[in-house]
């Protein structure tokens, strides 16, 4: 009788390698993305953005971000994704988009995060970023939800996938718990970021709104109040739900993704042998 031996844990070659050029692009775009999210905190009192054109600033960044997202995705995928990686990306994005269309969406319950976090975990940082962005984009197309929030969501979900791919390489029960805790943190952080982009629009009252020209500490305090009163009730359930999903489905999904990666044989490098010289040429 033959015994099936567990293959030793080995790192899968990242499907979307983050080379130096792509890493620099990602860093620059992420920096601009962070500014687009959190410009109310970075702006110094004085410039036109802060005084006369404060109402236009969110739209300026909403127009700028799609270009940044396009640049970073183009740069990441230009390293030569083969057909298997593209098909896998498309199918995982389809799973995420279908979950997004079907998911209740109420109380922040977002099963899409499971796909992005676990996909990024198994297939690496670069793939995680592209998977997050493409999943959100495809989900918006399926549900007809393309709006000014879309580029912000794409960046935030991209970061969620990226950092899932950057988690330490552990296996077994530790891995599931690491990913589950990461899901909790990512769910809450995603909500805090997505609130931030909407905050300048949300003129709910002078105590919780962005005040142009005010000091950083005062604005941060008002954002804290805004966050506590309006969205913490959404973000904590999202994080907890993601964590529970990872604990429940994580081991099976991780095994399924690794099995797919083995079957696709991403590590196999084809070698081409030139044909023997034809005498009639």
């Amino acid at each position: 009788m033959t015994t099936l031996r567990e293959t030793p844990p080995q790192r899968l070659r990242p499907l979307v390698p983050v080379r130096a050029r792509a890493a620099l692009t990602l860093a620059a775009c992420s920096l601009m993305g962070l500014v687009a999210f959190g410009w109310p905190f970075f702006v110094t009192p004085g410039p036109a953005l802060d005084t006369s054109h404060a109402a236009d600033a969110p739209w300026l960044f909403a127009l700028l971000l799609p270009l940044l997202a396009a640049v970073v995705v183009a740069e990441l995928t230009s390293g030569g994704m083969d057909a298997k990686a593209v098909a896998l990306l498309g199918v995982l994005a389809a799973v995420g988009a279908a979950l997004r269309a079907l998911g209740p969406g109420t109380a922040g319950i977002e099963p899409t995060f499971l796909v992005i976090v676990l996909g990024g975990r198994v297939f690496g940082r670069g793939f995680g970023f592209v998977l997050g962005a493409v999943t959100i984009f495809a989900g918006a197309l399926v549900t007809g939800g393309v709006g000014p929030w879309l580029p912000f969501q794409m960046f935030a979900a991209g970061w969620v996938g990226f950092f899932a791919g950057a988690l330490p390489q552990v296996r077994g029960r530790t891995e599931v718990w690491t990913v589950a805790v990461y899901g909790l943190v990512a769910g809450v952080a995603y909500g805090a970021l997505m609130n931030l982009w909407f905050w300048p629009f949300a003129a709910y009252g002078p105590e919780v709104s962005y005040a142009p020209g005010d000091s950083l500490a005062a604005n941060a305090h008002r954002y804290g109040v805004f966050y506590l009163t309006t969205s913490l009730g959404y973000d904590v359930p999202r994080g907890v739900f993601t964590m529970l999903l990872v604990l429940l489905l994580g081991p099976a999904v991780l095994a399924a993704l690794r099995r797919a990666a083995r079957r696709a044989a991403f590590d196999a490098t084809p070698t081409f042998v030139p044909p023997p010289e034809q005498p009639w040429r």
Partner: protein
């Protein structure tokens, strides 16, 4: 006259034209808080959507966006009423019981007197956001997502293909899930348990992953991944353009945020950066060469539709430059002004209801809702 230039020949309009029209109206809405103009813009988008809507699944997006914007206005009004202070007006509508809050919430007040001024200010400010959302919703309902994906630049080829795969597979997955749940029910498993979720989710995922490998084989067989003739110099130009664009975007963004000195240089540097990065995308697109199957034409109807949206934006921007006072409501309780030029400019936005080609009647409308996986690899 070319057939594409005909205004009456039924065909799908280029999705870019619909987006330009909608973005023009949205830009117009961003210039004003005058409720007359904002409601007019919502009416224009609603009329055009009703006139030129298809029977695609995303055509219902407009009503979803309309509901979302009504909810946004409602949330804003309720929160404003709860948090408002009497400093925002003197016309008290009614008084709510006041809730004492801990001191670290520094001056937040829950309840108390609700003034008409506070409620109207919240409604007008919410209406502007709602109008912009309605414009975006109209574009979502009118522009075909699939045709939009066909126009992605070559540099995003891989991501675009992945999106098309996702769009084709997502309905298939829903069918799979239904089939598997039915099989479980036939075997006598109760479908409403937590373990039931796992029993449904895992076969769907495994099936999808298996299909991705088959799809990859099909794509390989059809010559996916053929690279274009990008020379090393064009690759170097792409790198330089993207790097320069990002650098000047960062510098421009810093200039915008930092008030010391370089204020004016912020926006032009940022614009230069976007142009450079866009050029980098265009040049980088040359590395993939592909042919288009039945490309969407850009003919007279597209120009008219895009132009009508831009005319609304131009009218509002011109009014904002000459008589900015009519675009705002001086005090919440005053009657808003009705600027004629702006109203006419917005009404031009109605043109697509007539000049956009009628929606083609699809014979196999039901059959085409089935997922078409074959076209993925095309």
């Amino acid at each position: 006259m070319r057939a594409a230039a005909s205004l009456t020949l039924p065909r799908a309009l280029h999705p870019g034209a619909w987006w330009l029209w909608a973005l023009g109206l949205a830009a117009a809405a961003s210039r004003t808080t005058n409720p007359v103009l904002l409601v007019l813009i919502i009416a224009v988008t609603g009329f055009v959507v009703t006139a030129r809507r298809t029977d695609d699944p995303w055509a219902g997006a407009f009503s979803a966006f309309l509901k979302l914007s009504l909810v946004l206005i409602a949330i804003r009004v309720v929160l404003q009423a709860l948090l408002s202070r009497s400093s925002q007006g003197v016309t008290v509508l009614f008084t709510l019981p006041e809730v004492p809050l801990p001191s670290w919430l520094a001056g937040v007040k829950l309840g108390g007197a609700v003034t008409a001024e506070a409620v109207l200010t919240a409604t007008y400010a919410g209406l502007q956001l709602a109008t912009i959302l309605c414009c975006v919703g109209a574009a979502n309902a009118l522009a075909s997502a699939r045709r939009l994906l066909a126009t992605v630049p070559g540099a995003l080829y891989e991501a675009g293909v992945a999106c098309v795969v996702a769009l084709s597979f997502a309905p298939q997955l829903v069918t799979d899930a239904r089939r598997i749940r039915q099989a479980h029910r036939l075997r006598g498993h109760s479908p409403r348990r937590l373990a039931g979720l796992r029993r449904t989710a895992m076969p769907v995922l495994e099936g999808a992953l298996d299909r991705s490998i088959e799809l990859a084989a099909a794509m390989d067989a059809r010559g996916y991944g053929r690279t274009g003739n990008a020379s090393p110099s064009s690759r170097r130009i792409t790198t330089a353009l993207v790097a320069g664009g990002l650098l000047s975007m960062c510098v421009g963004g810093y200039g915008l945020l930092d008030g010391s000195g370089a204020q004016l240089r912020g926006l032009p540097t940022l614009l230069l950066g976007t142009v450079l990065a866009g050029g980098g995308l265009a040049v980088g697109g040359r590395r993939t060469q592909r042919t288009r199957y039945r490309p969407d034409p850009w003919a007279l109807p597209e120009w008219l539709v895009a132009g009508s949206g831009l005319s609304a934006a131009v009218a509002l921007f011109a009014t904002a430059a000459t008589t900015p006072a009519v675009l705002t409501v001086p005090s919440p309780l005053a009657l808003p002004a009705v600027p004629v030029a702006a109203v006419l400019g917005i009404l031009v936005g109605l043109l697509p209801a007539v000049v956009a080609p009628p929606v083609p009647h699809r014979v196999g409308a039901v059959a085409s809702r089935q997922p078409r996986t074959a076209q993925v690899s095309a």
